[in-house]
């Protein structure tokens, strides 16, 4: 697959489409938004089922707690906004009213990560996965492309209990033809190598594949894993990768603290310690800029991933 041929698709659009489909099938689905329905695409559901859509205005804490109430009364609720507001302004509400009582609320955030672009740091959420995976009872899903977002939305609707899903604003490259079907809690191996495993999530899974191709030209054979559920983590897969390749690189559009990298490190440390390099934002806020250039500036390009992976392989050899 040449880079020019990559299909760019909107995860938001597929989320909206899945919601509309689900709404037809299940009369108990209710969708909430906080004055960003056009951006998150919940407006599509609102158009199709206006009586089951509630725009709460700019009141995120009120929205997620209302979602909890609706769910306690028997509804299956999807509540959406931008990741920064949906998890950052609402943490204790989610904790007490959704996570603790295991309320059947799906918290679905768009505009996660650096690729929000020009809006800048206030809108580029890089800590949400950490906030949500730290909550007991919470499931955390980060789909890699548009198709997986669509599948994950359906999977979340069938799954009972609290869950958080995040994706970005920008259109992302499709990896579907290389991926398998989505299931909550199951990672997929997209490419099998022998020297190192790149474990990614979100749109950076595609970048991992590009990095793996580049590593191949350097004589390094890399596995690539799409870790689309951060919690519960597919520890079986992590364990297998650690044993098979002896070195791991994690890649996420999130702070290296508390995200996918830390989840993988915990699993590796407990089961089969091997060197792990975490790639993500280095405990820093983002800034205004275009999505693509920001990903490069913050070290999330295929070249930079390949370079760090090669170094991790060196570390592995030295440790032997």
């Amino acid at each position: 697959m040449s880079p020019a041929a990559v299909k760019m698709e909107s995860q938001r659009r597929e989320y909206g489409r899945a919601l509309v489909e689900l709404g037809a099938r299940n009369r108990d689905i209710v969708v909430l938004d906080a004055d960003l329905s056009v951006s998150t695409r919940t407006a599509d559901f609102g158009k199709a089922y206006p009586e089951r859509f509630f725009n709460c205005g700019v009141s995120e804490a009120n929205m997620v707690t209302t979602a909890a109430g609706l769910a306690m009364a028997g509804k299956l609720v999807f509540a959406s906004s931008f990741a920064v507001f949906l998890t950052g302004l609402t943490y204790n509400q989610i904790r007490q009213s959704i996570a603790y009582p295991r309320t059947n609320v799906k918290i679905v955030a768009s505009h996660a990560g650096l690729s929000v672009g020009p809006d800048g740091a206030t809108h580029q959420m890089l800590e949400d996965v950490g906030l949500m995976r730290g909550l007991p009872n919470m499931t955390v899903v980060v789909p890699a492309d548009a198709r997986e977002t669509y599948q994950a939305t359906h999977a979340l609707a069938s799954f009972k209990g609290p869950a958080y899903m995040r994706f970005g604003r920008a259109d992302v490259p499709a990896i579907s033809d290389e991926g398998s079907d989505f299931a909550i809690g199951r990672a997929s191996m997209l490419r099998k190598g022998a020297d190192v495993t790149l474990i990614g999530c979100g749109q950076l899974v595609h970048t991992c594949l590009a990095a793996a191709r580049q590593l191949e030209t350097e004589g390094i054979s890399a596995s690539v894993v799409n870790m689309s559920t951060i919690k519960p983590l597919d520890t079986g897969m992590v364990d297998r990768c650690a044993r098979d390749t002896g070195a791991i690189v994690t890649v996420e559009e999130h702070n290296i603290i508390n995200g996918l990298g830390d989840a993988v490190c915990s699993a590796v440390a407990a089961h089969y310690p091997v060197p792990v390099t975490k790639i993500g934002t280095m405990d820093t806020f983002g800034e205004s800029g275009e999505a693509g250039e920001l990903l490069v500036k913050y070290g999330l390009s295929a070249e930079q991933i390949a370079m760090k992976a090669a170094r991790t392989v060196e570390t592995k050899k030295r440790m032997r």
Binding site: D33, D35, L36, S37, V38, S39, A43, N55, C56, G57, V58, S59, A61, N62, V84, F85, G88, L89, G117, P118, D119, G120, A121, T122, H123, E287, S288, G289, E290, E293, L294, K297
Partner: protein
């Protein structure tokens, strides 16, 4: 026990004395407001303010066009208020942004940064060239109000936090006996946030009469008209019920913007909310009252058209 309280009385006494000495020092070195020293002329006529506001509007158009994104609608609705504040009402010094004597301004509706930055550039805090780097990677001029930009007091962008920050400043300044004014600009959408009302209740309960806020009531939020998304009316009655002195004005009349502010300075025991009725996109015919231009930059043709309209004199009274 007696000894202890005497000791703490002594500490308080020394503390107050030190504060007084510091104040005299700051006054003598021109670091607090001194009527004999005005960094900026604060006697501009309404006509002059209107002329400046027109330039500000043109910059809002140019800069969002250059950035290719941003929030022109809410910047244009706030342009007159921001201009009046920075060119007549606030005590501040563009040559010395951290001047101790300055009034404190908080742009609670942080997405109106293009309007805020345009006014700050016009006032001389940084160059127009730098203004044009809005939202570009590596620029200080971030997409939402950020303190790296000279003159920006508080980083904002997540709605609903500005009034609480204002409360903090107001409490601190009152504790220190400082007379500077604390001013915040809120949007009508921010009245959706619970925190706004937590802060409103706190400010009046604490009698923070050193606070003046403007609420830019343009009737539009992100997803549509406020009356359809989450109706905030009757807004005047809500703020009044929360213990505030409320003044309703036409937010595009310099005279009313100025007079309401001056009236607020005389109010004792209560903070003041100036509810400014405005038009989102004010000054550009095809942007006025148009939901689409909340978060969309004008393209090239729209920019040419908008600048021509503003030059022809729309956007002023």
């Amino acid at each position: 026990m007696a000894d202890q309280s005497e000791a703490s009385d002594f500490v308080v006494h020394v503390d107050q004395l030190l504060k007084k000495i510091k104040y005299v020092y700051l006054f003598a070195t021109n670091q607090v407001w001194n009527p004999l020293f005005e960094p900026l002329p604060r006697n501009r006529t309404y006509e002059e303010l209107e002329r400046i506001a027109r330039e500000v509007r043109k910059d809002i158009i140019r800069v969002t066009n250059a950035a290719g994104s941003g929030h022109p609608g809410g910047s244009l609705s706030s342009a007159d208020i921001l201009t009046a504040l920075y060119f007549r009402l606030l005590k501040h010094d563009p040559k010395n942004p951290k001047w101790e004597g300055r009034d404190i301004f908080i742009l609670s509706k942080g997405h109106a940064a293009p309007g805020y930055y345009s006014v700050l550039a016009e006032a001389g805090y940084f160059s127009k060239e730098e203004l044009m780097t809005l939202r570009k990677m590596g620029s200080r001029i971030q997409g939402h109000a950020h303190t790296d930009v000279p003159g920006v007091e508080v980083s904002t962008g997540s709605l609903g936090q500005g009034l609480s920050i204002a409360n903090g400043f107001a409490l601190s300044y009152r504790l220190d006996g400082r007379s500077q004014r604390i001013v915040a600009l809120l949007s009508d959408g921010e009245n959706d946030e619970g925190q706004t009302w937590e802060a409103a209740m706190f400010a009046s309960f604490r009698r923070l009469d050193n606070i003046t806020i403007y609420v830019d009531r343009n009737g539009i939020q992100n997803d549509g008209f406020t009356k359809d998304i989450l109706d905030t009316s009757p807004l005047e009655e809500k703020w009044r019920a929360f213990g505030w002195n409320v003044i309703v004005i036409d937010g595009h009349s310099m005279k009313q913007i100025v007079e309401a502010y001056e009236a607020s300075l005389k109010v004792k025991g209560k903070p003041t909310a100036i509810i400014a009725n405005t038009v989102k996109g004010k000054g550009v015919s095809f942007m006025e009252n148009n939901v689409a231009f909340h978060g969309k930059a004008p393209n090239k043709e729209e920019t040419v058209k908008a600048l021509a309209e503003l030059d022809a004199g729309r956007g002023s009274q």
